[in-house]
Symmetry: D3
Subunit: 285 residues, 6 copies
Amino acid sequence: MYYNDPKLQYPVRVDKPNPLFAKALQQAIGGIEGEIRVCMQYFFQAWGMRGPKKYRDMLLATATEELGHIEMLATAVALNLEDAPLSLQEEVSADPVGGAILNGMNMRHILSSGLAAMPVDASGVPFDMSHIYASGNGAADMLANVTAESTGRALAVRLYNMTDDPGMKDMLQFLIARDTMHQNQWMAAIEDMGGIAEALPIPNSHPQDEENREFSYAFLGFDKDGAQPVQGRWSSGTSFDGKGEFTSRPMQPLGEEPDLGLARPKSGAQSAQIGSGGGILNKIL
Amino acid sequence: MYYNDPKLQYPVRVDKPNPLFAKALQQAIGGIEGEIRVCMQYFFQAWGMRGPKKYRDMLLATATEELGHIEMLATAVALNLEDAPLSLQEEVSADPVGGAILNGMNMRHILSSGLAAMPVDASGVPFDMSHIYASGNGAADMLANVTAESTGRALAVRLYNMTDDPGMKDMLQFLIARDTMHQNQWMAAIEDMGGIAEALPIPNSHPQDEENREFSYAFLGFDKDGAQPVQGRWSSGTSFDGKGEFTSRPMQPLGEEPDLGLARPKSGAQSAQIGSGGGILNKIL
Amino acid sequence: MYYNDPKLQYPVRVDKPNPLFAKALQQAIGGIEGEIRVCMQYFFQAWGMRGPKKYRDMLLATATEELGHIEMLATAVALNLEDAPLSLQEEVSADPVGGAILNGMNMRHILSSGLAAMPVDASGVPFDMSHIYASGNGAADMLANVTAESTGRALAVRLYNMTDDPGMKDMLQFLIARDTMHQNQWMAAIEDMGGIAEALPIPNSHPQDEENREFSYAFLGFDKDGAQPVQGRWSSGTSFDGKGEFTSRPMQPLGEEPDLGLARPKSGAQSAQIGSGGGILNKIL
Amino acid sequence: MYYNDPKLQYPVRVDKPNPLFAKALQQAIGGIEGEIRVCMQYFFQAWGMRGPKKYRDMLLATATEELGHIEMLATAVALNLEDAPLSLQEEVSADPVGGAILNGMNMRHILSSGLAAMPVDASGVPFDMSHIYASGNGAADMLANVTAESTGRALAVRLYNMTDDPGMKDMLQFLIARDTMHQNQWMAAIEDMGGIAEALPIPNSHPQDEENREFSYAFLGFDKDGAQPVQGRWSSGTSFDGKGEFTSRPMQPLGEEPDLGLARPKSGAQSAQIGSGGGILNKIL
Amino acid sequence: MYYNDPKLQYPVRVDKPNPLFAKALQQAIGGIEGEIRVCMQYFFQAWGMRGPKKYRDMLLATATEELGHIEMLATAVALNLEDAPLSLQEEVSADPVGGAILNGMNMRHILSSGLAAMPVDASGVPFDMSHIYASGNGAADMLANVTAESTGRALAVRLYNMTDDPGMKDMLQFLIARDTMHQNQWMAAIEDMGGIAEALPIPNSHPQDEENREFSYAFLGFDKDGAQPVQGRWSSGTSFDGKGEFTSRPMQPLGEEPDLGLARPKSGAQSAQIGSGGGILNKIL
Amino acid sequence: MYYNDPKLQYPVRVDKPNPLFAKALQQAIGGIEGEIRVCMQYFFQAWGMRGPKKYRDMLLATATEELGHIEMLATAVALNLEDAPLSLQEEVSADPVGGAILNGMNMRHILSSGLAAMPVDASGVPFDMSHIYASGNGAADMLANVTAESTGRALAVRLYNMTDDPGMKDMLQFLIARDTMHQNQWMAAIEDMGGIAEALPIPNSHPQDEENREFSYAFLGFDKDGAQPVQGRWSSGTSFDGKGEFTSRPMQPLGEEPDLGLARPKSGAQSAQIGSGGGILNKIL
């Protein structure tokens, strides 16, 4: 169960409202790298977590935090839209800078939300919950979380570099710091579970003697001319999970050309595919 | 540029066609854990990669491999649909097992594809390219790839446990092994770049003195009663990236309650929000 | 800012796990009538609310409650999946009831989430945030909320009628009651703002003398034979908003047939559309 | 069955084509507040309506009208695109106003439709039929329709305020008036069915003694500090539906902390979640 | 402008309601091969058509017809849902046939629409208007229409083969016939514009001397071993458009390996990609 | 199975980077007319093809080619983003041209991809695999392919007309030529199968005596006043498929007004729809 405090987790101040930056900030709300994503991802992972209870608790804590980050960003978007132009009046169009603002902003900030945030990205595409990765496998989920916080921090850094508004920079410095923590936190959780090498191959509960071990640690090349694939840490030495030795080689097809045969009658295919169509099929085969 | 060989990378054999398993296999084609996703993700990462060339080469190699995996799975789906029922005829409905097959299969395998694979998941939802994570940050991308291969291997293992068809089990043993390799490969690539600890916080090119360091390594609790948050590897000791010390504490709001003021005239709000609506607003404020 | 308590708002108990009911319950999580929708809708309305502060407070309270409802339902889904079959083994297929369960359940509950809830509906379609209606107009938003709670309660009632599990019936009786309250609450909020009749036409801040008043209270018929349209409360008497008199009549076109002319050169049209294509266009015009 | 007349329902005239306004108008075609939505929503409600026939008739009439509104708006978009720039030629870029037009317009109006309307919103996102609310419950549907016409009229008003083109203003005055009527019409339909208070709680066919009446009229607070929730029309007095008395109070959790136990073997979880993974789980629990 | 007649274009009768067939019929409503698609596609093509007026008229006629087909199919779905089970009661589950019906049907037909049609496909995925192909090029649009009617008739034939309900078979015989006509109609329209060969290459208004004619009629092979590509009508002889001669050959890369260089500072990349990260990049390059 | 060569199929050169053209080029990558679509469409058609093997081979060849085209375009996007502005700094906003560039470009090229291509269209909407048309009917698929190449070439021509960058024009001349070939190729494939007239009505394996032949070649009018429909090649003469004679006439409804009766109890409808609601229903009926 959840509670709220009407205050914000961290101050949100906009010194000079900019509707273009409002559009950019939307990526941090409704983008795949944004806060709705991590908030809901951590909640669904927590609500479905089986195993040691402490991971559920940790996930709930940070999910709850992220909800407050959406709130901060939604506030920042609304404040950046304070003075946004509401019309295409000619005097505005004649002013290149003013015109460019209306042209460049997300028009739905005027038309749909009345100068407030929406759960969409910087292109106006709504967030889609298929991006909530919650696999039922704790290690896979933690990795998904490090990934989400990595693209999230890259996004926050790019927003930070884009603006020179002191209020916005201050808010982003806080959010960037939280992403630093959360990257560390999810990696620490993997350590807490025994470490990343031990976790691999995920799921580590599947017996590896039921996989085709000839291919479990082989880096395969698909160069047109059969050249040896590019070498690196991945092509020789002990595998990252410590359970095998990397090798590398060009790949050759081991299977045959598939043959699906003719189409069945009443399956909606053309006669030529079914074999009842007269001369065409016979001529061809 | 790309080339093809009509043969399959690995043999695909179905001993006893099962349209329900065809539906399940679709998750490995068009699901978010599936092969279209990794194929296209690695291609887009490669095509946009800036920095050392060898990562581009490695990404291209494995992207090219994954294209062949989609092909294998598409073949497996078509073969599992070989004898699928095409009608709801009464005798079939009366047969609980036969009826259940038609009821349970993806009807679009009959209606839309003519007994062949589609780029959809096990629920019939089409794959959506927003799941192609290619961030322009090499470490974030590699982590996204380990994540993708982790959920991919979990999926392959679940499919393996679901079927008892020897042909399908053989194919899945190969695919599970490849997922083992690819998890190791992307982690090895991070090692090759200097290691995961050094990579963090991603992006590591952003100077940490421009983040709010008070919050960079603090695990924050949001318990209703202000209790100390759950302890673990993430709450004390050196941070995973080696650049700080974990601390933990309950969080308090640092910001104020936001006040967006009244709505602007001509913004499409109600009069009561604008302040011109007569007594209501005055009564309330 | 937000807080959590690990306990549930109301007890969730499943007496006899049923993976088919788990699939049905998903509609109340990720369906357009479900709890993610109302939770996020109320949050975004609150975060963007301009005007009297008390509506923001009320929205925040109920949004926070709904987050706990998602949690309850996610728990219910996981508990209903407790004994779900993980394989298509022949003995199960031969058992019509067991087979039908596997056939009928959402296979992604096995393949993607490891027997836990997902943010998808009963067909497995992910929730999409475009359904978060937050218009910047308080009255429109309250109506959207009554609507959401109406379809929400209809859904909860249908789920209640579908199951005979005592634990699930108890939980649904609670959720149905909350939907009763929330329908009343949002209508009361409109009363609080002055009443529904005064709120109309939404937005009531737009001067009606800038609309074409000839058509503001006319019920128009489009019957092929020009018959008078069907009569009811909407075709005569004072309009619902008290600002006009209903009339009714068959409609005739007032505009002309549009003529977009020829296509422009270099616009990618066919020559015949541009006028340079030789005899065809001339022959026709 | 349906018929057409090539003439428009109301004249559509553009005095000064403006590709930016074409982009804005798209919201009224393919936006969630737009005409495709109401057209299809009323059709699907009509086609599925059970109960008194006159509601079906009324729905069909207005659905048919809305189809003509899409046509009007599509014509308006095409006319606004008449003189749109087709190239990024340098002289245009050097002209700040001209450049801003090309930059700001929906490029797909050039690239995909050849200067014509598309079923997308102002951000270029295609309309998605999940927004067709047709619940099988007449009162819920009527409320959904008032809501749709409310956001629809807010949108039309915002477009009206955005442009100063006399032709476009005239067309929008007509559409705004129709939205006024339709808001009144659907509310009148609810009156015709017995009134909004009697309709609640929707569905009113579900016996209220099968809901948990302790919570049916209670406004619950979720304030972190357990404060009394914000008071208003919703917190005391007779409920809007006249079937109860509003109360209010802070909420406490009534359920326990959920415990999903350990993950099942072969479910794709990590060993640490299953309990067979050795020391880790034991150490933790 | 549009009109309606409450009668159906063709009788719709269901002799034995079958909720599974209701689910299958949804593909013909909200599937990509279905009637919403052709209806809206023809309308948008008509509304944006530039050039000879008669094509607009023809498109409007058939678009209007298709609207009546959605109506017929929506009626057919509702009638097939007449006796659908509303509960998972134990006695039903114990009956394999009854259980299979509930398991197999679209649960949203109970939960969301109250036993009526929805604008979704047979998997429950909502129709998405991005499938409305209206390109501004008349010939491309006509081809898109033949394609739509081809997959549409394949779908109708598959539905016809799936059912043995006499009423449904009669309705489908009508719809199949209309698809026959519409395939012929759009091909005839291309003839009317001068013929398919003359129409190619679409758009035929683009001067072919501004394309790289070396590749305009060459069938290229991408066989791994450089083999000659598979021969057929497409590899030799006069091209279909009569404007060239088919040739064929294996393809070789004509471009170089792309080099995107290093990432820019402040672009959110890792240090190793930017060149400022110390030894790693230097070691690698 | 597939192979790669790191070189590009054709040179990609950008003489003057332009982030707005990068945005436009995205349509050719992730738009419905773009290269991901044809690439994946041909692959899925090939992988599911039943009937003569040579069509599979041809589809595989061209699918493989299209993969290389995505690569070319992704490279072109990245090169066009070389000098894109990364900030909203005031000096840039004050410069109308520079400001307009940042305003007009896809901000996600900065925020999400780090100056690289994404699988989205020119509006930033991600490509969705539902556009992969692979019907199991060879002729329908070939027509879908001609259609795809027609809108694809229209798009390439529009991009060609939009830019004056010599490198980009050269690349597009190549891609336009390939679209010319592919349009011819798929039409030639239909000829190879016996010709388009013989292929119709698709699927030609369905016996036409099982369709309602009264309507198989009739062009129907839906004019409000019962006028004869617009005449053309489609209204008289031998049908395109040579299997009938075109006729034309106004259409009249042949069915009755549908009556779905009352709603069932426990179906979630209002009492007024069920008949148990007291006087309302009786009063109305």
